[in-house]
Symmetry: C2
DNA sequence: GTTCCTGCAAAAGATTTGCAGTGAC
DNA sequence: GTCACTGCAAATCTTTTGCAGGAAC
């Protein structure tokens, strides 16, 4: 899967280049960080991870970069509570999925379910809206918090 | 339905009283406003509607009142983008539902679907989380925005 | 050399908190 | 009279914007 992972980064960079953007260190650092994640990150988490790791990037730049990437369709926003927007890659090594949120500790896990997708696809036809996207969040207690 | 509507307000007031809260004009105004709504409102919308209508309530009080009501289970938070938390009544005259969001104009509509509920209920058994709640948001273009 | 990218600092928007006065019981 | 409720103002937190210097082409 190392191949697929690398492909998301280069795919995104290609899309950026095609859209007339130049290369830059901050953007590359954000792309690589996002590519390594199992699940969606908030801007502040991205900032902290970058500060701890490869290269510090200013918060304003992170916001700007994420906005560009979202516009190009390389990442998507997910809103799962905690009053913070989160972002995650689209395509690449990860598939379409939804989220489980532990309301006690805040842990986030991805899950996916074909039956759910079929149900939503069918439902989308019956609804007074031309549906382009959907989001499902299950709230509850994770194994750790439940056993405590 | 006037009966059911009134019942949500008095039910919530009863729950508040049981929890040791006293009555107050600001809280009553918020309860009645929420009760009349078709769908979830943000704090700022609540503030504007109250200012225009029955009684002005300070923003800080609205936040505090909503927090209490959420803790008591009389209302629920929904997060549907637009970087703003929204709240709506639970129980009362309205049933469990989910949301359609027009990404162009921001309009919000409720919908519900029994098949979706069954699918999610089944799914909730298979997931590494003790599920207590769920939220589904469909994004797209509403009839108005689509035809334009 | 021109234009875009980036960081810094300030601004804006949403939410929370501290405190003092009023009102419920 | 006591303690909760409320409004105001200040503080906090997230996100956006303006501007100037540096980097990509």
């Amino acid at each position: 899967m190392a191949r697929a992972k690398h492909d998301w980064v280069s795919g995104a960079e290609q899309a950026l280049a095609d859209a007339g953007y130049r290369r830059g260190g901050a953007r590359r650092a954000v792309l690589e960080l996002l590519n390594e994640q199992a699940c969606a990150l908030s801007v502040l988490e991205i900032e902290d991870l970058l500060r701890a790791g490869e290269r510090r990037v200013s918060r304003a730049s992170i916001y700007r970069i994420l906005e560009e990437l979202e516009r190009l369709g390389a990442i998507q926003r997910v809103e799962i509570g905690q009053s913070m927007v989160r972002y995650e890659t689209i395509g690449g090594s990860k598939h379409h999925h939804h989220h489980l949120v532990c309301d006690h500790c805040g842990v986030l896990q991805p899950f996916s379910d074909p039956e759910l997708e079929r149900t939503i696809a069918r439902l989308s036809e019956r609804v007074p809206l031309v549906v382009s996207d959907h989001e499902v969040v299950l709230h509850g207690a994770c194994a750790d918090c439940e056993s405590r």
